[in-house]
Amino acid sequence: MDSNLGSDFSNAKRAHSWLGFDAAFSRSLGKRGWVGMTLPKKYGGHERTAMERYVVMEELLAAGAPVFAHWVADRQSAPLLLHYGTEEQRLEILPRIAAGECCFCIGMSEPNSGSDLAAAQTRATRKDEGYCVNGTKLWTTNAHKAHYMTLLARTDKSDERHGGMSQFLVDMRTPGIEVRPIIDLAGEHEFNEVRFDDVLLPPTALLGNEGDGWKQVMGELAFERSGPERFLSSFALLNELVRVLSDAPDRQARQAIGRLLGHLMVLRHMSQSVAGMLQRGENPTLQATIVKDLGTIIEQEIPEIARTLVKVEGSLESADTFAATFARTLLAAPSFSLRGGTREILRGIIARGLGLR
């Protein structure tokens, strides 16, 4: 990080956590062999274990490295392509992902389909020359920077709520795709609205089988929810807190910081055991859901605890690192329990796991 970002890469910048976007940094990680680590060598990967990949992810997150340019592709698009892509797609795209050069976005949510993903209306109609896509995706993070989207669209009029959906690989340069920015409350541009107007996809764009989209998306979400980014997003602020308080911590500060350390220690243990389950080929959906629910609670508590221990008026523009780091973390915090499945959706999944639904 020091050699790529400079030793003055401050906690305020690190507070972007994994949502920090730096294409050059992602490429340099690719050069080190730290992207696409578990992919087969013939696709540019390094055939490392899931646990080895986990260790690298943790270190990057703990350091607040800007990893968003490759994060989604590495985390969920690469496994998806490996499973369901054509050989041609794998040979073309996976090496670019492993090089840290390929950015993916996820076309799931829509204006009338947020948590209720099965209500998606975007339609892909089969034509002689492929599929014709019409519809609108919303809250599509990084669509304006992405090379590809994995798109969830309706392919037939199934009566079954979860049936009739399919997943597609979309080259974002395809004519008819319009990306409009949505600025968030921190003034950042991550979200987009993506409109598809008679967008023609080749037949090979279909990922897996027609009608299997729902099942595939649920598998993808297990990857999306299971990683250490679900409890380390506020870590830069914890570092700041310790920096500011370490000279003369009072009892209240020591109790609060010690409690956070204890919780993080156990969360890390839980997150590692999810990684272990993935490595053994087990399905960690329920465990990953629990880690994300507990992890985002702690991530959101950290700014609240910080302001009780240190007098601060948050400001993104502040020259004071603590105030700027606090502001960045606080303003990002609401999204922690929204992205990748809202807290309420997660609790529904846990309740089903308990046999209550």
Binding site: R254, G258, V266, M270, R347, A351, L354, L356
Partner: protein, 340 residues
């Protein structure tokens, strides 16, 4: 975890159905537990144990907690390990542990230890002082009877100086002993929380109000989902702490860090789990007849024994802040000394 041990434990602890008055335990049941060898489960083979991993040995305590088997098992198990670890002879029967500021000395010949688990039933007490010195006392005099919420005896005892005790050594630091005791409570908390969740889910599926099981209501589902995530954290804390047990011998600092984390997490989960379990159960849950209170009383007692969340939080913070350059990540991810 060995399923044979769990099956045996499950069988033995399920049989315990005698309702006894608080402060007592079922002696017949205890005889069976002793005969099964559980009290020696933590010992290494060369010390007279069976070579179980700490995870397997402590899983016995988890099962015992799930069944709210009111027995002096955790104390006897650890007391035997402490005796072996200190090169003292293993005692027979119920043995307990007392933590005191100082051992009795020639100058101060009598010391009172407070809230000693099951002292009234113990033949011997392993006593640890703040300076780390550890000694064994036979049949101490009971000064006062006491109990925790769960009806487990917590008695005050008098320890009297002897020639023997003046030779007591200090193989480990006091806080390591405290962490060992705390570890037992973490295991118990995890088992109690797990059982309380199971009971609550069953109840929510059975109890019909407004024409359907209350568990069909989203508000109840979400409450139980919250409880389940804390149970999962509690269980993870117990696994983490049990796995760390061998570190006692090689890296007491790291052992303390891990147990402190586990006690903080399981302790916080305990209050939340007890509260949700009771809320889901409604009035039946607060009756003496229904068995939920046996579990929630264990949660309420054990979270405060051997250091509550605030105590261990300060310990953790002090450990991290004493690093040359305090770094939360280096502290969390510090490689434990590898133990074969």
């Amino acid at each position: 975890m060995s399923s044979m041990i769990l099956d045996t434990a499950e069988k033995i602890f399920t049989r315990n159905a005698n309702v006894l008055s608080p402060g007592t335990f079922d002696v017949v049941h205890w005889t069976e537990v002793e005969a099964s060898g559980f009290t020696l489960a933590l010992l290494a083979e060369e010390a007279g144990g069976f070579g179980l991993s700490a995870g397997d040995a402590t899983s016995i305590l988890r099962v015992s907690a799930k069944h709210a088997s009111r027995l002096p098992l955790a104390e006897t198990m650890l007391a035997n390990w402490l005796l072996a670890d200190s090169g003292l002879p293993i005692a027979n029967g119920v043995t307990t542990i007392a933590l005191v500021d100082a051992l009795p000395s020639e100058n101060c010949r009598s010391v009172v230890a407070t809230r000693v688990p099951w002292a009234r039933a113990s033949g011997a007490v392993v006593v640890v002082a703040l300076d780390g010195r550890i000694g064994s006392f036979d049949s101490p005099r009971i000064v006062a009877h006491g109990m925790n919420f769960a009806g487990e005896a917590r008695d005050d005892i008098e320890l009297v100086w002897s020639e023997e005790i003046s030779k007591a050594k200090a193989p480990r630091r006091f806080e390591t002993y405290l962490a060992l005791c705390a570890l037992l409570r973490v295991i118990g908390l995890a088992g109690s929380a797990e059982a309380a969740l199971k009971l609550s889910v069953e109840y929510a599926n059975d109890r019909v109000q407004f024409g359907r099981p209350i568990g069909r209501n989203q508000v109840i589902q979400h409450q139980l989902a919250i409880m389940a995530s804390h149970v999962a954290a509690s269980t993870a804390a117990a696994d983490m702490a049990a796995t760390a047990f061998p570190l006692v011998l090689t890296d007491e600092d790291r052992f303390k860090t891990i147990v402190a984390s586990a006690k903080i997490r399981a302790g916080e989960a305990a209050g939340i789990c007890a509260s949700i379990a009771h809320q889901v159960h409604g009035a039946i849950g607060i009756t003496e007849e229904y068995r939920l209170h046996n579990l929630t009383k264990q949660l309420w007692s054990w979270r405060d024994e051997y250091g509550n969340e605030a105590f261990w939080s300060e310990v953790l913070a002090d450990q991290m802040l004493s690093m040359k350059t305090p770094s939360p990540w280096q502290f969390l991810s510090r490689e434990a000394v590898h133990v074969d």
